[in-house]
Symmetry: D2
Subunit: 351 residues, 4 copies
Amino acid sequence: MLIVMKPQATEEDVKRVCRKIEAMGFRPHPMPGAQRTAVGITGNPGPLEPAEFETLPGVAEAIRVSKPYKLVSREVKNEDSLIRVGGGANVLAFGGKELALIAGPCAVESREQAFAAAERVRKAGARLFRGGAFKPRTSPYSFQGLGEEGLKILAEVRDRFGLLIVTETIDPENCDLVERYADVLQVGARNMQNFSLLKRVGRSKKPVLLKRGLSATLEEFLMAAEYILSEGNYNVILCERGVRTFADHTRNTLDLSVIPAVKRLSHLPIIVDPSHGTGKRDKVIPLARAAIAVGADGLIVEVHPEPDRALSDGFQSLYPEQFEELVEQVGAIARVLDRTLNSAPQANARR
Amino acid sequence: MLIVMKPQATEEDVKRVCRKIEAMGFRPHPMPGAQRTAVGITGNPGPLEPAEFETLPGVAEAIRVSKPYKLVSREVKNEDSLIRVGGGANVLAFGGKELALIAGPCAVESREQAFAAAERVRKAGARLFRGGAFKPRTSPYSFQGLGEEGLKILAEVRDRFGLLIVTETIDPENCDLVERYADVLQVGARNMQNFSLLKRVGRSKKPVLLKRGLSATLEEFLMAAEYILSEGNYNVILCERGVRTFADHTRNTLDLSVIPAVKRLSHLPIIVDPSHGTGKRDKVIPLARAAIAVGADGLIVEVHPEPDRALSDGFQSLYPEQFEELVEQVGAIARVLDRTLNSAPQANARR
Amino acid sequence: MLIVMKPQATEEDVKRVCRKIEAMGFRPHPMPGAQRTAVGITGNPGPLEPAEFETLPGVAEAIRVSKPYKLVSREVKNEDSLIRVGGGANVLAFGGKELALIAGPCAVESREQAFAAAERVRKAGARLFRGGAFKPRTSPYSFQGLGEEGLKILAEVRDRFGLLIVTETIDPENCDLVERYADVLQVGARNMQNFSLLKRVGRSKKPVLLKRGLSATLEEFLMAAEYILSEGNYNVILCERGVRTFADHTRNTLDLSVIPAVKRLSHLPIIVDPSHGTGKRDKVIPLARAAIAVGADGLIVEVHPEPDRALSDGFQSLYPEQFEELVEQVGAIARVLDRTLNSAPQANARR
Amino acid sequence: MLIVMKPQATEEDVKRVCRKIEAMGFRPHPMPGAQRTAVGITGNPGPLEPAEFETLPGVAEAIRVSKPYKLVSREVKNEDSLIRVGGGANVLAFGGKELALIAGPCAVESREQAFAAAERVRKAGARLFRGGAFKPRTSPYSFQGLGEEGLKILAEVRDRFGLLIVTETIDPENCDLVERYADVLQVGARNMQNFSLLKRVGRSKKPVLLKRGLSATLEEFLMAAEYILSEGNYNVILCERGVRTFADHTRNTLDLSVIPAVKRLSHLPIIVDPSHGTGKRDKVIPLARAAIAVGADGLIVEVHPEPDRALSDGFQSLYPEQFEELVEQVGAIARVLDRTLNSAPQANARR
């Protein structure tokens, strides 16, 4: 159920609706829009009676939501969501005309490696830095990340280079630690249906980057996001990173058609990871161009100062000079679509 | 690296090898076999020098393990593992000649429902009871299980009906609670690569039922088990429950060829879940027969006293009388393969 | 539209219905059943008026068919079809209580090889011999079969060993040749939607073995069979041979759940090919057992007198002694299901 | 084996090499390049001795080809192939800087419909017209195309609108007919491994558009093309049209990563079909942009004057005004990559 307020409804009208929902034992989700506010309801076991709400002051109408996901749906909020990341002067947004570039190594391996990567990607135009401190690895015997030490290095990267930090959190307890350092909490593909973790990041104040699972349908992907929103955190950025198919020329099959499909159903921004999506360095730039051309709101790319020495994912990490090339090429594609890269800090100050 | 002891090696010889491994900063995994003990080594960043060990008393040879998984591998332990479940008089084993039947509802919904299900499946011959208290659901708005209340009902089921309890744990913290009640900790398909959870159940004293992920390759499946063994819990039962493909006549595609494939590479037992594997009630019995025929060590089946009223998975749950039919049919197939159902408690008393 | 005749309807009543259908410009498909005859109609662009037929003598009712496939459907013919193969004294049936075993090499390589294989599989109990004379190969540079020379060798095998011949036809023109030699025309997986070939075998007098395509849904599989029946050849045997998925431990993923799914929707028999279905010799026997346990009507298995010298598919071909083992094991499973192998010629003389 | 000639080798030198290959019982495939000619050899059962050729006049070296495909490989021909289509003044090329746009309805339904479509797509900038006269349909009861009547209409379209004709051929016999009318012979996805048809179009003088099969790996796709080249027809244009996966938000999953993968291994041009690749009208334009951005050499798009009345594929056909929009958008993307649309006839007169 969605309660759509009249354009002239007052803040008190909205609060009255919320109080009524709470009094019924359910949870209200006020979602302010440019024209008017809507209030989503979750927690109700079945359909509610519209008349219960339509008689309240300021209510335009009460409508039933036809999809299994509600808060992520365009039925509930038609305008694109702008997800703001960072704070103070260093803030930017996912989901608007400006495209976001997240770049950096698969894992933080050392202060030197992270700084070398950060310097290069910053110079090339990235505004966000990726790097894992806690790495979910297929093998228990593989490098699992530097842990909190890695997080501290990431915090230094932010201070030194003005890059916002995107890093992965791997379980609810670990999230307590990661959210102290990160600007964006990443939930990895293998955890897309780790519902305990989804609920935990749903209670965080930090925006969440949610990667699509290896065999997730569109509906499951949106439902995973719904878990996060239903806990109160509306700042979710989706990420397509390839799905698992029979095809063996790439590590995963990048499903770019999911971008317009998400855009049609949801107001959330979605970016693309061409590094995991292909698993091969020489495919990253072409697929990055395609991702922007299809309408993605940004990219997350693995860049390593010395890919051949990387402790993980070296074969899919770009050399820094390749990343510069990528930025140039996707920037040109972006302009065709009347979008720009949010690479220049001053350009974002306007927001 | 695997240190194979001579048949006549003493316990002290084994301990000496373990101490040496620890002194090198790695972790020893002594694995006693019928003929002789082997000691696996994990934690070493690269290959070790065999001569370091072959000169120690009681050591037959030090061999390199060629697979990425070690402890789960037949290279390290050639004989089938017998995983003992339960305690006291109520104990049975997975992986021997006797096949294990786990049956019960998708979720514990109430004391009445659980008792009704338990009575019927016990009478039909099941020795283990399944039922979720914490349910990972695709939608945040679906029934998520009764929580600890559900676990208490399961404990009552054990006391009343002599059934051993298999129930799911969904995150590391939750595991503290679940292991107090369960005889077998289930890790669900969506959590197969939730490595924090795998490590946690790897530190439990309770056996673990590990379900194959929806898009897990055989190697990833065995690596997930390796996570558990590498933490010291060698009591892992694998479970095939269908994978995700293009085929749409069943909810998942049950991949029965993985049973002989696992048997070839690993000493761990593997069972089959024909309920999730097909998602359709009328397919459960035929696929259960096929699972036993292909060589599985048991079955886990959803049975509900009133499937049409089930809060989850009703369409794939058997009616109790269908479960009786299943037991009869798979029992007959088992006899052809010179195996029996471990349905009669006295039959297991021998172990 | 399906015209169901009354039990006491005369042959003339049936003919009258057929003439009326023809007069309307459509095609009648009379399908005699144990109780009564039904007449399917194809070629009609949209639904017909039941009253047009229900007023004719001998007609019980005219019912609309709800599936896109008609003639293969249980809506049109509820009883299992018995597909008779061979002629004279050497005849057997697919789809009854007796299970059919088809065995032989991937390709006919020489008279000696074919005879050696035939002798062994005949002795082990097979009644049908497989062997390709025209091989559809992924590479243009691979052995493509002996052509008509291979067909002549197959005819000799029939004469000498009393085995019925199953061999592949690869295009409409080629079918003219193959049907002169074969007892059963095989349409391979890669040709499952080669509609020109389907129409051509649909005009043949010989039964057709139709293999499921590598990525065919159940509906597409049944529609491919419908093509054959719609041309007038109702003698179609379906065959599951594995589908293409991400799983890499077998060459294909054998989808045994399709057997009960076909049985539910169609009256046609279905057999299983565990050789292509797994692509690995050591998986063939376990999956053959599972195929019979799940309810398949028979098996088609690759057996080569010297697999290590085979010109194609050697790694998945059984040694003759393994085939004997397979026959013994699946025979025991069959008895549990109250079925028998149609291996003894005299046993089939009754039909 | 590949015989690389010296840059200064004479025509007679090349002929001498070919004669020698023929004398050995194999088939020579001379492939002239900008710098020098190479001669591929097919038909040899195993590796040949390089010295046999390296001693002949004009031969630079004889090298072994490491891939299972040879003639399609960059090992054999490193420069991109330019596939010329059409004749006389109306000629254009696939694989160069200019991108090719093929547009038109799924099937030719009538002269009026074909002319209406042709007029619109011609005006929007397409130079090639698609339209099926023989339609491979999943159901035998669906519209199967107008047959030769449809081909005649296509020939009229060429005469009237100056559009080159791309149309499907469905079996070897049918190819005799289709090649009399078509400028490009299309082999559909379901026939990608119909080897009889591949061999037949391999003996045609007309270029071939080969669509990737629904579950074809990259290697199988290139091997299918190899069939055509090995018969002597080197004019093959590849086409990605989506593969079959678990994902259900589009009819197929468009695998754009195959474009750079093909470019790396093969000299053949490859285009993209975003209509079948998505199966949904609103996804066609975004994926068309992505296809050009990733590096495809052109597009084949379904456009219907009245999609809602189409006899097939109406839901994925663009309205004519949407096609105009598509041309504009992909043209802008093309310019970023320093390519142009070959939409203006005069621009192509240069070739």
